[in-house]
């Protein structure tokens, strides 16, 4: 779906056309779920967050002043995920001492998710907002409350860490 189409659907939803919600939902459900899952690292919690995001969107869509409603959705996703993490774990990242075996095609997906789970939460959220949400670093810096260079450095550090882990090394 083109960006302009999505913006039109949001406009229709604001004006009471609830059928536009279905279009928005099918366009954004995967990135919203992926972002939530990659931040919280729990399928059940990611499902709850995804539901909460779309229920909120349905009940009170972003007003016309929101220039990028897609980013708005991802921001809500991220905020809900971080709030839940804070409640559950106090933002502690998992143990990063594991050593990864070199990847094979079959194990690729599992290893990738496992490697991502070993990144600090801040890096996971920046990574997934950029790569799965398609947000620019400027947008992400506003969402996570960090400066642009900080966001970029964390992103690069996350990629370097994943490279090391996926190549069989340890952090």
């Amino acid at each position: 779906m083109q960006k302009t189409d999505l913006t039109e659907h949001f406009s229709k939803l604001r004006n009471g056309d609830k059928s536009a919600f279905t279009e928005i939902y099918h366009e954004l459900k995967r990135p919203v779920y992926t972002i939530a899952l990659r931040i919280v690292q729990s399928k059940e919690t990611a499902e709850d967050i995804t539901q909460e995001v779309f229920v909120r969107l349905y009940a009170s869509p972003p007003d016309a002043s929101v220039r990028n409603p897609r980013a708005w959705c991802f921001q809500i996703t991220r905020n809900l995920a971080i709030d839940l993490l804070k409640k559950q774990h106090g933002m502690q990242s998992p143990d990063t001492q594991d050593t990864f075996a070199p990847i094979s095609d079959i194990e690729l997906r599992m290893d990738l998710e496992r490697a991502i789970s070993h990144l600090p939460c801040e890096e996971r959220e920046i990574l997934t907002l950029h790569l799965n949400g398609g947000l620019h670093f400027k947008e992400i810096s506003k969402i996570v409350g960090l400066t642009l260079p900080s966001v970029y450095r964390r992103y690069q550090k996350a990629l370097r860490s994943l490279r090391i882990l996926m190549n069989g090394g340890s952090l």
Binding site: Y33, T34, T50, L127, F137, R153, R163, N167, G169
Partner: protein, 268 residues
């Protein structure tokens, strides 16, 4: 005291010149003028932030291709290390902007080192006005007072500079005098009542230089090294990792559709 002041002023001049030159360069340069290799990439603004001021030895320069932050040109050396670095840079970037690579002779660090070595020449009273980094033309641009052109001391200085640095420098003459807002001319006849201003400016230049040096060390380490201090050179590139994350989204639970759409309807 006079010598110290001269040194401080020279540092300030040298520090300011490259910035002014870079701003002017970025506004007028067009990559289309160069018939060199071009690679279309992305996330140039982030790369700019990371590499604009300082870079590893294989980088010769980095500047805006069209005056915007959207397109960058990066000068690298046409060496094995330079070309390997080009691939490393490509691996760092994966969005939708554009980067052009051009081959250049002198590394940026080499030019900055030359700039450092020019400080003593400002104290010679041989007409040296300014020296600035010109990344696009890959050299240090040096300006000398036109009125000093025929002086023996000036000719000797130019000869020394050309012998020492060859095509890494370009010397031109100017009749413009450097005037501060207070109207004081920089030079041997500096009025005593402007001393506090010059001392402050010189001190600021040293502080900023120290800050940038520290940032340079930090940035270079961040780009090239892992947390453990080893260089990243594994077979799986950053671009590949990013691509995997982008294209291996987890399966969306099929039962979630009905659950969410029902929950939304209950909001009505």
């Amino acid at each position: 005291m006079k010598k110290t002041l001269g040194t401080l002023l020279a540092i300030l001049l040298c520090f300011m010149s490259p910035l002014a030159a870079a701003a002017e360069e970025s506004a007028v340069y067009s990559a289309a003028d160069n018939s060199q290799e071009s690679v279309v990439l992305s996330d140039t603004e982030e790369l700019w932030l990371q590499w604009a001021k300082f870079a590893p030895d294989y980088i010769c320069g980095i500047w805006s291709t069209d005056g915007s932050m959207e397109r960058l040109t990066i000068g690298i050396q046409d060496t094995e290390e330079g070309n390997a670095a080009k691939q490393e840079i490509l691996d760092m970037i994966e969005d939708d902007s554009a980067i052009t690579f051009v081959y250049q002779k002198h590394s940026k660090n080499e030019l900055l080192r030359i700039l450092d070595e020019l400080y003593p020449y400002f104290e010679r009273n041989a007409g040296l006005v300014s020296a600035g980094l010109n990344e696009i033309d890959n050299r240090i641009d040096i300006e000398i007072f036109e009125k000093n052109a025929k002086d023996a001391a000036t000719k000797e200085m130019i000869s020394e500079l050309e012998n020492a640095y060859g095509d890494a420098i370009s010397i031109s003459y100017t009749d413009e005098e450097i005037i501060l807002t207070t109207g004081g001319e920089i030079g041997a006849d500096t009025p005593k009542n402007h001393l506090p201003l010059y001392l402050t400016a010189g001190g600021m230049a040293i502080l900023v230089s120290a800050f940038l040096f520290i940032r340079h060390r930090q940035n270079t380490a961040a780009v090239l090294q892992t947390n453990a201090g080893s260089t990243v050179s594994n077979s799986l590139s950053s671009a590949k990792v990013a691509d995997m994350i982008r294209h291996t989204e987890p399966d969306f639970p099929s039962e979630l559709d009905a659950r969410i759409l029902d929950a939304a309807k209950h909001e009505e």
